[in-house]
Protein backbone atom coordinates (compact mmCIF):
# COMPACT_ATOMS: atom_id res chain seq x y z
CA UNK A 1 0.00 0.00 0.00
CA UNK A 2 1.35 3.42 -0.96
CA UNK A 3 0.13 6.15 1.33
CA UNK A 4 0.57 9.91 1.13
CA UNK A 5 -0.21 12.54 3.70
CA UNK A 6 -0.24 16.25 2.86
CA UNK A 7 0.58 18.67 5.65
CA UNK A 8 1.02 22.36 6.23
CA UNK A 9 2.82 24.34 8.85
CA UNK A 10 0.68 27.17 10.19
CA UNK A 11 1.09 30.03 12.63
CA UNK A 12 -0.02 29.32 16.16
CA UNK A 13 -3.45 30.89 16.52
CA UNK A 14 -2.59 32.25 19.95
CA UNK A 15 -0.17 34.64 18.29
CA UNK A 16 -0.68 38.33 17.88
CA UNK A 17 -1.09 38.93 14.16
CA UNK A 18 0.17 42.08 12.54
CA UNK A 19 -0.25 43.14 8.97
CA UNK A 20 1.90 45.81 7.41
CA UNK A 21 -0.14 48.23 5.37
CA UNK A 22 -0.76 47.09 1.83
CA UNK A 23 0.32 43.53 2.61
CA UNK A 24 -1.81 40.50 1.85
CA UNK A 25 -0.27 38.25 4.47
CA UNK A 26 0.63 38.81 8.10
CA UNK A 27 4.12 39.46 9.35
CA UNK A 28 5.68 36.12 10.27
CA UNK A 29 8.66 37.32 12.29
CA UNK A 30 8.55 36.26 15.94
CA UNK A 31 5.52 34.04 15.40
CA UNK A 32 5.48 30.45 16.57
CA UNK A 33 4.60 27.85 13.96
CA UNK A 34 3.17 24.39 14.32
CA UNK A 35 1.81 21.52 12.33
CA UNK A 36 -1.78 22.37 11.31
CA UNK A 37 -4.02 20.72 13.91
CA UNK A 38 -6.21 18.99 11.31
CA UNK A 39 -3.10 17.54 9.69
CA UNK A 40 -2.08 15.89 12.94
CA UNK A 41 -5.18 13.75 12.61
CA UNK A 42 -4.31 13.05 8.98
CA UNK A 43 -0.78 11.96 9.89
CA UNK A 44 -2.10 9.76 12.69
CA UNK A 45 -4.66 8.15 10.38
CA UNK A 46 -1.97 7.51 7.77
CA UNK A 47 0.42 6.01 10.31
CA UNK A 48 -2.31 3.78 11.71
CA UNK A 49 -3.16 2.57 8.22
CA UNK A 50 0.48 1.85 7.54
CA UNK A 51 0.69 -0.07 10.79
CA UNK A 52 -2.36 -2.06 9.73
CA UNK A 53 -1.47 -2.85 6.14
CA UNK A 54 2.26 -2.33 5.91
CA UNK A 55 3.52 -0.34 2.96
CA UNK A 56 5.12 2.95 2.49
CA UNK A 57 4.11 6.35 3.83
CA UNK A 58 5.28 9.61 2.30
CA UNK A 59 4.60 13.03 3.75
CA UNK A 60 4.60 16.13 1.58
CA UNK A 61 4.45 19.81 2.41
CA UNK A 62 4.52 22.94 0.31
CA UNK A 63 6.01 25.85 2.18
CA UNK A 64 9.07 27.89 3.13
CA UNK A 65 12.17 26.47 4.82
CA UNK A 66 10.53 26.50 8.25
CA UNK A 67 7.97 23.92 7.07
CA UNK A 68 10.70 21.34 7.35
CA UNK A 69 9.96 21.24 11.10
CA UNK A 70 6.43 20.06 10.40
CA UNK A 71 7.76 17.39 8.07
CA UNK A 72 10.19 16.28 10.76
CA UNK A 73 7.29 15.86 13.14
CA UNK A 74 5.39 13.71 10.67
CA UNK A 75 8.50 11.59 10.14
CA UNK A 76 8.87 11.22 13.89
CA UNK A 77 5.21 10.18 14.13
CA UNK A 78 5.87 7.39 11.64
CA UNK A 79 6.09 8.55 8.02
CA UNK A 80 8.86 6.89 6.02
CA UNK A 81 10.02 9.77 3.89
CA UNK A 82 9.33 13.41 3.29
CA UNK A 83 9.07 15.65 0.28
CA UNK A 84 9.44 19.37 0.87
CA UNK A 85 8.34 21.58 -1.97
CA UNK A 86 10.10 24.82 -1.16
CA UNK A 87 7.79 27.77 -1.67
CA UNK A 88 8.18 31.16 -0.06
CA UNK A 89 4.98 32.67 -1.42
CA UNK A 90 1.63 32.28 0.32
CA UNK A 91 -0.17 30.11 -2.20
CA UNK A 92 -3.93 29.92 -2.56
CA UNK A 93 -5.59 26.51 -2.33
CA UNK A 94 -5.72 25.88 -6.04
CA UNK A 95 -2.03 26.67 -6.47
CA UNK A 96 -1.05 24.42 -3.57
CA UNK A 97 -3.13 21.54 -4.88
CA UNK A 98 -1.63 21.96 -8.33
CA UNK A 99 1.93 21.99 -6.98
CA UNK A 100 1.29 18.81 -4.99
CA UNK A 101 -0.41 17.21 -7.98
CA UNK A 102 2.64 17.83 -10.16
CA UNK A 103 4.85 16.15 -7.58
CA UNK A 104 2.75 13.07 -7.02
CA UNK A 105 0.70 12.41 -10.15
CA UNK A 106 3.00 9.65 -11.34
CA UNK A 107 3.36 7.98 -7.95
CA UNK A 108 0.16 5.95 -7.86
CA UNK A 109 -0.77 6.42 -4.22
CA UNK A 110 -3.51 4.13 -2.96
CA UNK A 111 -4.60 6.44 -0.21
CA UNK A 112 -4.03 10.11 0.39
CA UNK A 113 -4.81 11.87 3.65
CA UNK A 114 -5.05 15.62 4.17
CA UNK A 115 -6.43 17.80 6.92
CA UNK A 116 -9.98 18.98 6.44
CA UNK A 117 -8.73 22.55 6.32
CA UNK A 118 -5.82 24.61 7.54
CA UNK A 119 -6.40 26.55 10.70
CA UNK A 120 -4.98 29.76 9.24
CA UNK A 121 -7.18 30.08 6.16
CA UNK A 122 -9.91 27.54 6.72
CA UNK A 123 -10.71 27.15 3.03
CA UNK A 124 -11.04 23.38 3.06
CA UNK A 125 -10.16 23.11 -0.62
CA UNK A 126 -6.71 21.61 -1.10
CA UNK A 127 -7.59 17.98 -0.41
CA UNK A 128 -10.70 17.94 -2.56
CA UNK A 129 -9.03 19.81 -5.41
CA UNK A 130 -6.17 17.34 -5.36
CA UNK A 131 -8.60 14.43 -5.48
CA UNK A 132 -10.30 15.99 -8.51
CA UNK A 133 -6.99 16.61 -10.25
CA UNK A 134 -6.02 12.98 -9.71
CA UNK A 135 -9.53 11.90 -10.75
CA UNK A 136 -9.87 9.61 -7.76
CA UNK A 137 -12.61 9.23 -5.15
CA UNK A 138 -12.44 11.72 -2.36
CA UNK A 139 -14.42 12.28 0.78
CA UNK A 140 -14.20 15.24 3.15
CA UNK A 141 -14.52 15.88 6.85
CA UNK A 142 -14.01 12.32 7.97
CA UNK A 143 -14.49 11.45 11.64
CA UNK A 144 -14.23 7.65 11.41
CA UNK A 145 -12.07 5.59 9.10
CA UNK A 146 -11.71 1.86 8.44
CA UNK A 147 -9.85 -0.02 5.73
CA UNK A 148 -10.70 -3.53 4.61
CA UNK A 149 -9.78 -3.52 0.92
CA UNK A 150 -12.17 -0.65 0.40
CA UNK A 151 -12.49 2.19 2.84
CA UNK A 152 -15.44 2.81 5.07
CA UNK A 153 -15.75 6.27 6.54
CA UNK A 154 -18.11 8.47 8.47
CA UNK A 155 -18.44 12.02 7.26
CA UNK A 156 -19.51 14.65 9.71
CA UNK A 157 -22.71 16.46 8.78
CA UNK A 158 -24.45 19.16 10.76
CA UNK A 159 -26.22 18.79 14.07
CA UNK A 160 -24.34 15.71 15.26
CA UNK A 161 -25.41 13.61 12.28
CA UNK A 162 -22.93 11.55 10.27
CA UNK A 163 -23.06 9.84 6.90
CA UNK A 164 -21.56 6.39 6.54
CA UNK A 165 -19.95 5.75 3.15
CA UNK A 166 -17.93 3.09 1.46
CA UNK A 167 -15.56 3.69 -1.43
CA UNK A 168 -12.89 2.02 -3.44
CA UNK A 169 -9.24 2.99 -3.50
CA UNK A 170 -7.38 4.88 -4.77
CA UNK A 171 -9.02 7.53 -2.65
CA UNK A 172 -8.38 10.75 -0.82
CA UNK A 173 -9.68 11.50 2.65
CA UNK A 174 -9.73 14.87 4.42
CA UNK A 175 -9.58 14.49 8.17
CA UNK A 176 -11.66 16.34 10.74
CA UNK A 177 -10.67 16.95 14.37
CA UNK A 178 -11.51 14.04 16.63
CA UNK A 179 -10.92 11.37 13.97
CA UNK A 180 -8.35 9.73 16.22
CA UNK A 181 -5.95 10.53 19.01
CA UNK A 182 -2.77 11.88 17.38
CA UNK A 183 0.26 10.42 19.10
CA UNK A 184 3.13 12.39 20.52
CA UNK A 185 6.23 11.62 18.51
CA UNK A 186 8.46 9.68 20.90
CA UNK A 187 11.90 11.09 21.58
CA UNK A 188 13.77 8.11 20.07
CA UNK A 189 11.64 8.46 16.96
CA UNK A 190 12.49 12.15 16.75
CA UNK A 191 16.16 11.21 16.69
CA UNK A 192 15.53 8.48 14.12
CA UNK A 193 13.62 10.87 11.91
CA UNK A 194 16.92 12.56 11.21
CA UNK A 195 17.99 9.54 9.22
CA UNK A 196 14.83 9.21 7.16
CA UNK A 197 15.01 10.37 3.56
CA UNK A 198 13.87 13.92 2.96
CA UNK A 199 14.00 15.55 -0.42
CA UNK A 200 13.72 19.21 -1.21
CA UNK A 201 12.31 20.22 -4.55
CA UNK A 202 11.01 23.33 -6.18
CA UNK A 203 8.07 23.52 -8.51
CA UNK A 204 6.65 26.58 -10.20
CA UNK A 205 3.17 27.43 -8.94
CA UNK A 206 0.41 28.29 -11.43
CA UNK A 207 -1.10 31.77 -11.34
CA UNK A 208 -3.49 32.40 -8.48
CA UNK A 209 -7.18 32.48 -9.27
CA UNK A 210 -7.83 34.77 -6.33
CA UNK A 211 -6.85 38.33 -5.77
CA UNK A 212 -6.54 39.53 -2.20
CA UNK A 213 -7.78 43.09 -2.03
CA UNK A 214 -7.15 43.80 1.63
CA UNK A 215 -6.12 42.11 4.87
CA UNK A 216 -6.45 43.47 8.38
CA UNK A 217 -7.94 43.09 11.82
CA UNK A 218 -11.72 42.73 11.99
CA UNK A 219 -13.58 45.98 12.48
CA UNK A 220 -14.08 46.56 16.18
CA UNK A 221 -17.73 45.68 16.45
CA UNK A 222 -17.81 47.69 19.63
CA UNK A 223 -20.73 45.51 20.59
CA UNK A 224 -19.13 43.92 23.60
CA UNK A 225 -18.64 45.98 26.69
CA UNK A 226 -15.45 44.94 28.46
CA UNK A 227 -15.76 44.24 32.15
CA UNK A 228 -12.30 44.71 33.58
CA UNK A 229 -10.92 45.63 36.95
CA UNK A 230 -10.66 43.68 40.15
CA UNK A 231 -12.41 40.40 40.66
CA UNK A 232 -15.06 41.45 43.15
CA UNK A 233 -16.06 44.48 41.11
CA UNK A 234 -16.36 42.25 38.04
CA UNK A 235 -18.51 39.78 39.94
CA UNK A 236 -20.90 42.44 41.24
CA UNK A 237 -21.17 43.97 37.80
CA UNK A 238 -22.17 40.62 36.28
CA UNK A 239 -24.60 39.91 39.11
CA UNK A 240 -26.18 43.30 38.46
CA UNK A 241 -26.50 42.60 34.73
CA UNK A 242 -28.11 39.23 35.41
CA UNK A 243 -30.55 40.80 37.86
CA UNK A 244 -31.38 43.58 35.43
CA UNK A 245 -32.32 40.96 32.82
CA UNK A 246 -34.19 38.98 35.48
CA UNK A 247 -31.94 36.03 34.94
CA UNK A 248 -30.77 35.70 38.52
Amino acid sequence: MKILVCIKQVADLESRFQVASGQTWFNETDLAFRLNEYDEFAVEAAVQLKEQTGGDLTVISVGPARASEALKKALAMGADQAVHVLEDQQLESFQTAQVIFEQIKAQGYDLIFTGMQSSDKGSGQVGLLLGEMLKINSVSCVVAFKYDGRIEVERELEGGLRAKLKLATPALVTCQLGLNQPRYPTLPNIMKAKKKPKSEVTSPAPASRLQVVALGPPPKAGAAELIEGDLLAQVSKVVAILKEHKLA
Binding site: A11, K166, L210, L215, P218, V235, L242
Partner: protein
Protein backbone atom coordinates in the same frame (compact mmCIF):
# COMPACT_ATOMS: atom_id res chain seq x y z
CA UNK B 1 -25.13 38.89 -13.54
CA UNK B 2 -26.50 35.54 -12.68
CA UNK B 3 -25.94 33.17 -9.73
CA UNK B 4 -26.63 29.49 -9.48
CA UNK B 5 -27.63 28.68 -5.92
CA UNK B 6 -27.28 25.04 -4.98
CA UNK B 7 -29.73 24.09 -2.26
CA UNK B 8 -29.17 21.33 0.17
CA UNK B 9 -31.38 18.34 0.84
CA UNK B 10 -31.27 16.35 4.01
CA UNK B 11 -33.61 13.38 4.31
CA UNK B 12 -36.02 14.62 1.71
CA UNK B 13 -36.22 18.14 3.11
CA UNK B 14 -34.80 21.29 1.62
CA UNK B 15 -32.52 23.08 4.06
CA UNK B 16 -33.84 26.56 4.96
CA UNK B 17 -30.38 27.97 4.32
CA UNK B 18 -31.47 28.34 0.68
CA UNK B 19 -33.15 31.57 1.81
CA UNK B 20 -29.78 32.85 3.04
CA UNK B 21 -28.37 32.24 -0.43
CA UNK B 22 -31.37 33.98 -1.97
CA UNK B 23 -30.83 36.81 0.50
CA UNK B 24 -27.23 37.11 -0.60
CA UNK B 25 -28.21 37.08 -4.28
CA UNK B 26 -30.72 39.84 -3.83
CA UNK B 27 -28.26 41.90 -1.74
CA UNK B 28 -25.70 41.49 -4.53
CA UNK B 29 -28.31 42.26 -7.19
CA UNK B 30 -27.97 38.92 -8.93
CA UNK B 31 -30.51 36.97 -10.86
CA UNK B 32 -30.94 33.57 -9.16
CA UNK B 33 -31.32 30.09 -10.55
CA UNK B 34 -31.66 27.31 -7.99
CA UNK B 35 -30.58 23.72 -8.25
CA UNK B 36 -31.70 21.06 -5.83
CA UNK B 37 -30.14 17.69 -6.61
CA UNK B 38 -32.54 15.39 -4.76
CA UNK B 39 -36.34 15.26 -4.52
CA UNK B 40 -37.92 17.48 -1.89
CA UNK B 41 -41.33 17.46 -0.28
CA UNK B 42 -42.17 21.17 -0.68
CA UNK B 43 -40.77 23.55 -3.24
CA UNK B 44 -39.08 26.74 -2.09
CA UNK B 45 -40.75 30.07 -2.73
CA UNK B 46 -38.86 32.48 -4.91
CA UNK B 47 -39.07 33.99 -8.35
CA UNK B 48 -36.81 32.36 -10.91
CA UNK B 49 -36.00 28.93 -12.16
CA UNK B 50 -35.72 25.77 -10.05
CA UNK B 51 -33.84 22.78 -11.41
CA UNK B 52 -34.99 19.66 -9.68
CA UNK B 53 -32.64 16.67 -9.81
CA UNK B 54 -33.62 13.11 -9.04
CA UNK B 55 -30.38 12.18 -7.30
CA UNK B 56 -30.14 10.38 -4.02
CA UNK B 57 -28.19 11.14 -0.90
CA UNK B 58 -25.09 13.21 -1.43
CA UNK B 59 -22.77 11.65 -3.90
CA UNK B 60 -20.08 13.97 -5.23
CA UNK B 61 -19.88 12.53 -8.73
CA UNK B 62 -23.57 12.53 -9.32
CA UNK B 63 -24.30 15.93 -7.79
CA UNK B 64 -21.33 17.48 -9.54
CA UNK B 65 -22.60 16.22 -12.89
CA UNK B 66 -26.05 17.71 -12.32
CA UNK B 67 -24.58 21.04 -11.32
CA UNK B 68 -22.33 21.12 -14.39
CA UNK B 69 -25.30 20.37 -16.61
CA UNK B 70 -27.21 23.31 -15.18
CA UNK B 71 -24.16 25.56 -15.36
CA UNK B 72 -23.75 24.70 -19.03
CA UNK B 73 -27.36 25.67 -19.68
CA UNK B 74 -27.48 28.80 -17.57
CA UNK B 75 -23.98 30.27 -17.80
CA UNK B 76 -23.97 31.80 -14.31
CA UNK B 77 -21.19 34.11 -13.12
CA UNK B 78 -21.32 32.79 -9.60
CA UNK B 79 -22.05 29.37 -8.17
CA UNK B 80 -23.16 29.70 -4.58
CA UNK B 81 -23.37 27.07 -1.85
CA UNK B 82 -23.48 27.16 1.90
CA UNK B 83 -20.21 26.49 3.73
CA UNK B 84 -21.66 23.29 5.14
CA UNK B 85 -20.69 19.65 4.93
CA UNK B 86 -22.54 19.59 1.62
CA UNK B 87 -21.32 22.88 0.24
CA UNK B 88 -17.66 22.77 1.16
CA UNK B 89 -17.43 19.32 -0.34
CA UNK B 90 -19.12 20.09 -3.64
CA UNK B 91 -17.67 23.57 -4.18
CA UNK B 92 -14.01 22.69 -4.91
CA UNK B 93 -15.11 19.90 -7.23
CA UNK B 94 -17.09 22.38 -9.28
CA UNK B 95 -14.35 25.01 -9.15
CA UNK B 96 -11.92 22.42 -10.47
CA UNK B 97 -14.12 21.41 -13.40
CA UNK B 98 -14.95 24.99 -14.27
CA UNK B 99 -11.42 26.28 -13.84
CA UNK B 100 -12.76 29.03 -11.57
CA UNK B 101 -11.44 30.40 -8.32
CA UNK B 102 -13.25 29.47 -5.14
CA UNK B 103 -13.95 31.73 -2.20
CA UNK B 104 -14.63 29.75 0.95
CA UNK B 105 -16.87 30.75 3.80
CA UNK B 106 -17.68 34.30 2.80
CA UNK B 107 -19.12 36.39 5.60
CA UNK B 108 -19.95 39.52 3.62
CA UNK B 109 -20.12 40.87 0.11
CA UNK B 110 -19.27 44.42 -0.71
CA UNK B 111 -18.85 46.04 -4.11
CA UNK B 112 -17.58 42.97 -5.87
CA UNK B 113 -15.37 41.54 -3.13
CA UNK B 114 -16.07 38.92 -0.52
CA UNK B 115 -14.93 39.03 3.09
CA UNK B 116 -13.38 36.04 4.78
CA UNK B 117 -12.14 35.32 8.26
CA UNK B 118 -8.53 34.19 8.81
CA UNK B 119 -6.49 32.79 11.71
CA UNK B 120 -9.43 31.97 13.92
CA UNK B 121 -11.12 35.35 13.58
CA UNK B 122 -8.13 37.53 14.36
CA UNK B 123 -7.82 38.77 10.78
CA UNK B 124 -10.18 39.42 7.97
CA UNK B 125 -9.50 39.75 4.29
CA UNK B 126 -11.42 40.77 1.23
CA UNK B 127 -10.91 38.81 -1.97
CA UNK B 128 -12.24 38.41 -5.43
CA UNK B 129 -11.44 36.05 -8.23
CA UNK B 130 -9.19 37.16 -11.03
CA UNK B 131 -11.66 36.12 -13.73
CA UNK B 132 -14.73 37.50 -11.99
CA UNK B 133 -16.42 34.11 -12.10
CA UNK B 134 -16.40 32.31 -8.77
CA UNK B 135 -17.61 29.41 -6.75
CA UNK B 136 -18.52 30.80 -3.35
CA UNK B 137 -19.53 29.16 -0.10
CA UNK B 138 -21.38 31.31 2.43
CA UNK B 139 -20.94 31.14 6.16
CA UNK B 140 -24.19 30.10 7.72
CA UNK B 141 -25.98 32.98 9.38
CA UNK B 142 -23.82 35.63 7.72
CA UNK B 143 -26.39 36.84 5.20
CA UNK B 144 -29.94 37.73 6.06
CA UNK B 145 -32.56 35.46 4.65
CA UNK B 146 -34.80 36.46 1.78
CA UNK B 147 -38.48 36.29 2.59
CA UNK B 148 -40.15 33.32 0.89
CA UNK B 149 -42.23 34.69 -1.98
CA UNK B 150 -43.16 33.62 -5.46
CA UNK B 151 -43.12 30.27 -7.14
CA UNK B 152 -40.29 29.14 -9.38
CA UNK B 153 -40.52 27.67 -12.84
CA UNK B 154 -39.59 24.00 -12.62
CA UNK B 155 -37.29 22.02 -14.83
CA UNK B 156 -36.10 18.51 -14.00
CA UNK B 157 -32.74 16.95 -14.62
CA UNK B 158 -31.61 13.42 -14.06
CA UNK B 159 -28.71 12.10 -12.09
CA UNK B 160 -26.05 9.61 -13.01
CA UNK B 161 -24.75 7.01 -10.66
CA UNK B 162 -21.86 7.88 -8.44
CA UNK B 163 -18.90 5.87 -7.21
CA UNK B 164 -19.53 6.09 -3.51
CA UNK B 165 -21.72 3.61 -1.74
CA UNK B 166 -24.13 5.17 0.71
CA UNK B 167 -24.47 3.09 3.85
CA UNK B 168 -26.79 5.35 5.79
CA UNK B 169 -26.91 8.00 8.48
CA UNK B 170 -25.33 7.49 11.85
CA UNK B 171 -27.46 9.23 14.43
CA UNK B 172 -26.08 10.78 17.50
CA UNK B 173 -27.14 8.55 20.37
CA UNK B 174 -30.51 9.58 21.75
CA UNK B 175 -30.04 11.91 24.67
CA UNK B 176 -32.37 13.50 27.14
CA UNK B 177 -30.63 16.80 26.88
CA UNK B 178 -31.98 19.13 24.24
CA UNK B 179 -29.97 22.31 24.43
CA UNK B 180 -32.13 24.01 21.85
CA UNK B 181 -34.92 24.16 24.42
CA UNK B 182 -32.77 25.57 27.20
CA UNK B 183 -33.56 29.09 28.47
CA UNK B 184 -30.10 29.55 29.90
CA UNK B 185 -26.82 27.94 28.92
CA UNK B 186 -23.44 28.14 30.60
CA UNK B 187 -20.80 26.80 28.23
CA UNK B 188 -17.29 25.58 28.84
CA UNK B 189 -14.48 25.96 26.30
CA UNK B 190 -10.92 24.76 26.05
CA UNK B 191 -10.01 27.63 28.38
CA UNK B 192 -11.15 25.56 31.36
CA UNK B 193 -7.86 23.72 30.92
CA UNK B 194 -8.79 20.30 32.24
CA UNK B 195 -11.76 18.05 32.90
CA UNK B 196 -11.55 18.67 36.64
CA UNK B 197 -12.50 22.29 36.16
CA UNK B 198 -15.78 21.34 34.56
CA UNK B 199 -17.17 21.03 38.07
CA UNK B 200 -17.04 24.77 38.64
CA UNK B 201 -18.84 25.47 35.37
CA UNK B 202 -21.51 22.95 36.26
CA UNK B 203 -21.91 24.52 39.63
CA UNK B 204 -22.42 27.95 38.11
CA UNK B 205 -24.94 26.47 35.67
CA UNK B 206 -26.77 24.88 38.54
CA UNK B 207 -26.97 28.09 40.55
CA UNK B 208 -28.37 29.88 37.50
CA UNK B 209 -30.72 27.04 36.61
CA UNK B 210 -28.92 26.70 33.29
CA UNK B 211 -27.88 23.78 31.12
CA UNK B 212 -24.26 22.98 30.49
CA UNK B 213 -23.01 23.71 26.97
CA UNK B 214 -19.55 23.16 25.52
CA UNK B 215 -17.31 24.01 22.61
CA UNK B 216 -16.08 21.25 20.41
CA UNK B 217 -12.63 20.68 21.94
CA UNK B 218 -14.28 20.02 25.29
CA UNK B 219 -16.43 17.37 23.62
CA UNK B 220 -13.55 15.93 21.57
CA UNK B 221 -11.49 15.55 24.72
CA UNK B 222 -14.27 13.38 26.09
CA UNK B 223 -14.98 15.72 29.00
CA UNK B 224 -18.68 15.96 28.14
CA UNK B 225 -21.12 14.21 25.81
CA UNK B 226 -21.70 15.49 22.30
CA UNK B 227 -25.25 16.49 23.24
CA UNK B 228 -23.71 19.46 25.06
CA UNK B 229 -21.90 20.79 22.01
CA UNK B 230 -22.91 24.17 20.67
CA UNK B 231 -21.99 25.21 17.16
CA UNK B 232 -22.24 24.25 13.56
CA UNK B 233 -21.71 20.57 14.29
CA UNK B 234 -23.57 20.70 17.57
CA UNK B 235 -26.72 22.43 18.67
CA UNK B 236 -27.86 25.83 17.43
CA UNK B 237 -29.25 27.62 20.43
CA UNK B 238 -31.05 30.86 21.17
CA UNK B 239 -31.39 31.01 24.95
CA UNK B 240 -32.12 34.11 27.00
CA UNK B 241 -28.67 33.82 28.54
CA UNK B 242 -25.54 32.34 27.05
CA UNK B 243 -22.39 32.43 29.14
CA UNK B 244 -19.23 31.41 27.29
CA UNK B 245 -16.45 30.46 29.68
CA UNK B 246 -13.03 30.14 28.05
CA UNK B 247 -14.39 30.03 24.51
CA UNK B 248 -12.48 31.96 21.88
CA UNK B 249 -15.38 32.44 19.48
CA UNK B 250 -14.41 30.49 16.38
CA UNK B 251 -16.92 30.96 13.56
CA UNK B 252 -18.19 27.40 13.98
CA UNK B 253 -19.03 28.06 17.59
CA UNK B 254 -20.56 31.47 16.90
CA UNK B 255 -22.78 29.88 14.28
CA UNK B 256 -24.51 27.97 17.06
CA UNK B 257 -25.04 30.72 19.63
CA UNK B 258 -24.79 34.20 18.22
CA UNK B 259 -28.54 34.71 18.22
CA UNK B 260 -28.77 34.25 21.98
CA UNK B 261 -30.48 37.16 23.69
CA UNK B 262 -27.79 38.00 26.23
CA UNK B 263 -24.25 36.78 25.72
CA UNK B 264 -21.67 37.13 28.47
CA UNK B 265 -18.18 35.84 27.76
CA UNK B 266 -15.49 35.19 30.31
CA UNK B 267 -12.10 35.27 28.68
CA UNK B 268 -8.66 36.32 29.72
CA UNK B 269 -7.97 37.63 26.24
CA UNK B 270 -9.90 40.84 25.81
CA UNK B 271 -9.40 40.61 22.05
CA UNK B 272 -10.87 37.11 21.75
CA UNK B 273 -13.22 37.05 18.75
CA UNK B 274 -16.14 36.05 20.98
CA UNK B 275 -16.30 39.79 21.67
CA UNK B 276 -17.81 40.27 18.22
CA UNK B 277 -21.08 38.72 19.30
CA UNK B 278 -20.97 38.99 23.08
CA UNK B 279 -22.72 41.81 24.87
CA UNK B 280 -20.23 41.68 27.70
CA UNK B 281 -16.73 40.26 27.95
CA UNK B 282 -15.47 39.75 31.47
CA UNK B 283 -11.70 39.99 31.10
CA UNK B 284 -10.59 37.55 33.78
CA UNK B 285 -9.17 34.17 34.57
CA UNK B 286 -12.25 32.02 34.63
CA UNK B 287 -10.72 29.77 37.28
CA UNK B 288 -10.95 32.77 39.62
CA UNK B 289 -14.02 34.45 38.27
CA UNK B 290 -16.42 31.54 37.89
CA UNK B 291 -16.23 30.31 41.50
CA UNK B 292 -16.44 33.90 42.74
CA UNK B 293 -19.57 34.52 40.67
CA UNK B 294 -21.13 31.27 41.85
CA UNK B 295 -20.46 32.26 45.41
CA UNK B 296 -21.97 35.70 44.92
CA UNK B 297 -25.07 34.25 43.27
CA UNK B 298 -25.53 31.77 46.09
CA UNK B 299 -25.33 34.50 48.71
Amino acid sequence: MKALLIGEVLRGKLAPSLYEMLGFASQAGLESVVLVCAPISTNPQFTGKLYQGDGGEYDPLSHKAMALEVIAKENPDLVVLMHSSYGWDLAPRLAMELGWGQISEAIAFDSGTFNQVLVGGKLRRSVKTVSGQAVVTLQSGAFSEAAPAGSPALESISALKGAIEWLGYVEKPAQDLDLTKAQKIVSAGRGIGKADNLGMIQELAQVLGAELGASRPVVDSGWVEHSHQVGSTGATVTPELYMACGISGAVQHLAGMKKSELIIAINKDKDAPIGEVAHYVVVADLLQFVPALTKALKA
